[in-house]
Subunit: 201 residues, 2 copies
Amino acid sequence: MARWEPDARGRLLRTAVDLFFEQGYDATTTAQIAERAGLTKTTLFRLFPDKREILFQGQGTLIDLAVEAVARAVPGSPAIDVVAAAISAMTDAHVADHSSSQRLAGLIAASPELRERAAFKRSSIAGALQTALLERLGSARRAGLLADVGVRAYYDGFDRWIAADGDRSLTAVVLDELAECEADLRELVLGTRTHPVPQRA
Amino acid sequence: MARWEPDARGRLLRTAVDLFFEQGYDATTTAQIAERAGLTKTTLFRLFPDKREILFQGQGTLIDLAVEAVARAVPGSPAIDVVAAAISAMTDAHVADHSSSQRLAGLIAASPELRERAAFKRSSIAGALQTALLERLGSARRAGLLADVGVRAYYDGFDRWIAADGDRSLTAVVLDELAECEADLRELVLGTRTHPVPQRA
DNA sequence: ACGGTGATGTTACCGAGTCACATCATCGAG
DNA sequence: CTCGATGATGTGACTCGGTAACATCACCGT
């Protein structure tokens, strides 16, 4: 399949990340990215629907993975386990190494435009997860609440993983975060007073 | 303060809604909106940071209202009550009538670009609410989880209000939704077992 | 009446994104 | 080995969102 220089998408992604780091997202032109990648603006927009999406490729796959994991989950298992299966399916598919992920997260955090796209992705994942959970729970409200918890655990866990040294696996950190969420939720709902919570040992 | 024709922002908003309904969001030009409102493109972009924001003006105020409500809440009151105060502060400030809100919701749902902005607004509200709650709860995780629940109750309640006849007040519907969320959350966290819903093999 | 001030208009410009059309590299059939 | 089909890429022109510098106009107080 590969003709000319292979992996045009990957080249564009790497080039874009480099340029965004050098000059900032806004100051970098799509024509600039394409040129340094040995392509043209037209080809860039053939491969990506827009400039932001260069950094978010593959997030559509995330949704599919989560939804499939929910569909594959054992019927009758606790809802929280189904959520855990869904989000660990996403983390397992995470290919970028720790430092690349750090770079990417820094870029996104620095640009409102990219943060907006990130929020959209997050809400898309939450929506898809809710729909998938709905078939099991029968209640849209419960499915939505659970999806929120799962997505929060995924993103907050991801942030913890980013901030850490990268020794622990992403999946472990995220599943740990989910367990913490469940515990906190239980205490919140039971009306217990706030007390020192055992953070990670 | 008002010179020339007054309320340029309001005129632009109404004109934009009309045009978006007639032609769709994408097919409507900012110059078109400005012209029909008796202004020019430049003035439009002086009053709104971008085209999408025409439909979302005032959402920044929503955040302030929620945050202030949290700050004003009685110390020591249950966390869920603080959340209720925050979201009812937002609904109380809702000025648009039922049918206008329906139109606006339909427009936003029809355009991916507008849905993305809506997701960003929602995440911004959730973030601000989490920060406000953090001072009371001491735990960022609990604050985030509670903020998610509150924001979900707000949006899902809003949708229910939109879909209904508009007899009940928005605040009543949203607070009812929040109560339902709390109840569902309690059941989810206690005997969490998936309902006997017919699974597909 | 007049001058200051703020809101608006004019003009020109840049960059994202689209489109129609041309080109070129590869592969398979003969 | 040649040649045509195919699909990826390039070219050039275009629209539209958004910005900026400068000019203009309406109101207000003096």
